[in-house]
Amino acid sequence: MAIWLPRLAIDRWRQVENAEDTGADAHPTVLITETARGIRIEALNHAALEAGARPGMMLADARALCPSLRAVPGDPEGDAAFLARLALWAQRWGPWSAVDAPDGLLVDVTGATHLFGGETRLLADAQALFAQRGLETRLAIATTCGAAWALAHYGPERAIFHHDAMTSVLADLPVAALRLGNDVLVVLRRLGLKRIGQLWGVSRDALQRRFRERSVTANPLLRLDQLLGRLPEPLLPVIERQMPLVQRGLLEPICHRELLDRVIADLASDMERELESGGQGARRLELGMWRVDGEVVVRRLETTAPTRDPAHICRLFADRLDDVDAGFGIELVQLRAPWTEPLSLAQGDIEVEAEAQGTTLAQCIDRLTVRLGEKAVRRPVPFASHTPERAQRWQPPLEPEEISQGLLAFHDRPLKLLDKPEKIAVLYASPDGYPRQFRWRDRLHEVVRVEGPERIAPEWWREKRGTRLRDYYRIEDGEGRRYWIYRQGIIGDGRGGMPDWFLQGLCP
């Protein structure tokens, strides 16, 4: 479905200024933009149109026709942002929408029209809703994106065309409906080719010889092929599989959490049926809530393993809905699964014990990540490095571990490693080089047993020059506390002054 908002800029100005209520709309008004050649009219309201102004005119010329013309600077960035929000909102008619700059939207309604009672009613519904928001629209549904665009801009009102009937209607449209650049249109006009049907009359070879550009906006032949679906249209990727999508329109907008929870429970069980029929399980779920005032609240979540268990889905979403602002109420709730993976039907647990024995690991990890965030739940994996803090990396818990070379455990390693080695003040060092007494976190430690040094040289292929080597010692103090400390550098290595001591690990 292509949606063209021919008067987007002025409609938006009217909303922002609240012009209909204040009476400003009755006054001839133009939205202007500054160009290199002077101030040009971007958009204008009906009063200005009647006064003789036209879009694209210089402001000075228009003023000559209508001296009382009011000029307001346009806001193209604001329009673009508004259009992006509209595109999100337009997903109520289909799972996939795109912005067609500067003033259009494209919605993929493949397989979604039955939710609205057919294509005709879908278009009527869409136009009515846009009109409610004060936006003038022209809509069309066609089998290709190019054809829908052409019909929305140049075809009959609310056109719906299927592939077989399309050619005759499209033949009557002007060549501008092909979305070509201005210079190409000028060339075509000079060649006397004004209608799309005339282009079909010309042989392919002739067109190919004349237009050699690769870019689609400069090559009518490519555009013609896109129009009939012979070439893939890069603007919208082809969706091979339909995204599982369920939604509930609500007669009475809901503002309360309990009602929303019930709707989500219904949707989750609908989604289970939808997914089950395809043997799929959802990895990513999106819950869209359309508010009465035109805002959309979207909550996304991902699961670690494909799932379609309604209770699990409800529980995961329940944690995410605490901060939803319902505004004046939510009128439409939609649940979709953009990412699914095969999940075959499993036989229910026969053992009653297993039922009572709680969640599986994947469910447990899902619950943890939804509440605590993805970064909080991780698994340590080894990494090829000599430096102790680098020898361990973190990855999501259920991802398979990469194959790594086994480590030769010549030396004991501490059970816990501080995130940042803490500097210790060595009060007295023995002639062998290790400290006899040191102070760490305001407490004095008397070293009685030492093993070391274990020298770990800096990794020259990773670290910058001048990094000092480390001499590690495993020590035990008078009370039996065991630590892992190191001296950074040695005296006279030419990489700094007196070496510092650090405590990096706590041994069991």
Partner: protein
């Protein structure tokens, strides 16, 4: 006439003293100083000790830390973990104590975990008797043992089935390098337990099993002898 290794429980039956290898406890609390790793180490040792009897397939271990305890004692370091657990650790870093308690509860409810280890610093308000009772019940219902390490904490109310106070102890001298630190050794006091009389032990973990010895100080040995639970 009472046997020295037994004492009389509340029901009037003789109660055996705790010893390694008994297992069966679902919720244990270990009070430890924050500047040592002995709390987590003893938790891991007890967990491994409890698992040795079961010949099940290896399952994962969940280790939950709150932010404060991680700042105090650092993160678990894979090369230093006991060998059987190195590839089976899942670490959860919770910002607050509430999040950590949530993670602990979700952990003990999961049938695919072999045990849950928690580390919480201090005496947070969220960890009251109700919260600890919740954890006990969940752990007992689902059979997943929970070892909760309390760093720098006071002995507050708790429903844990075993409550330990642990600190490091001088290790025995290794055979080949008498000047090096030896195998992990802790001085552990069991000050409250359901089913066992309190006592103090010197515990060693030589990597294959947990061994207990009586503390070498004569006065403590007498005190740890055979008091009944009611007297403790």
């Amino acid at each position: 006439m009472r046997l020295p290794a037994l004492s009389i429980g509340e029901a009037g039956l003789p109660v055996a003293r705790w010893r390694p290898g008994l297992g069966g406890v679902r919720h244990a609390e270990i009070f430890a100083p924050g500047r040592e790793a002995c709390g987590a180490a003893l938790a891991l040792s007890l967990a491994l000790d409890g698992m040795r009897g079961e010949g099940n397939k290896p399952r994962d271990v969940l280790w939950v830390q709150d932010r404060v305890s991680m700042r105090l004692g650092g993160r678990p370091y894979r090369p230093g973990l006991p060998k059987p657990l190195q590839s089976r650790l899942i670490h959860v870093l919770a910002e607050t104590c509430e999040d950590a308690l949530f993670a602990l509860e979700e952990g003990v409810r999961c049938r695919d975990l072999c045990c849950v280890i928690g580390e919480l610093a201090g005496n947070p308000r969220a960890l009251d008797f109700t919260a600890s009772r919740r954890l006990s019940l969940a752990a007992e219902k689902h059979g997943v043992p929970l070892y909760l390490v309390r760093l720098d904490a006071e002995r507050d109310l708790s429903s844990a089935r075993m409550r330990w106070e642990v600190c490091s102890a001088p290790s025995p001298r290794p055979r080949w390098n008498a000047d090096a630190p030896g195998m992990p050794t802790w001085r552990a006091e069991l000050f409250r337990a359901r089913g066992y009389p309190p006592g103090t032990w010197i515990l060693h973990d030589d990597g294959t099993r947990l061994a207990a010895a009586a503390p070498d100080h004569g006065d403590l040995a007498a005190a740890a002898g055979n008091r009944s639970l009611a007297a403790g």
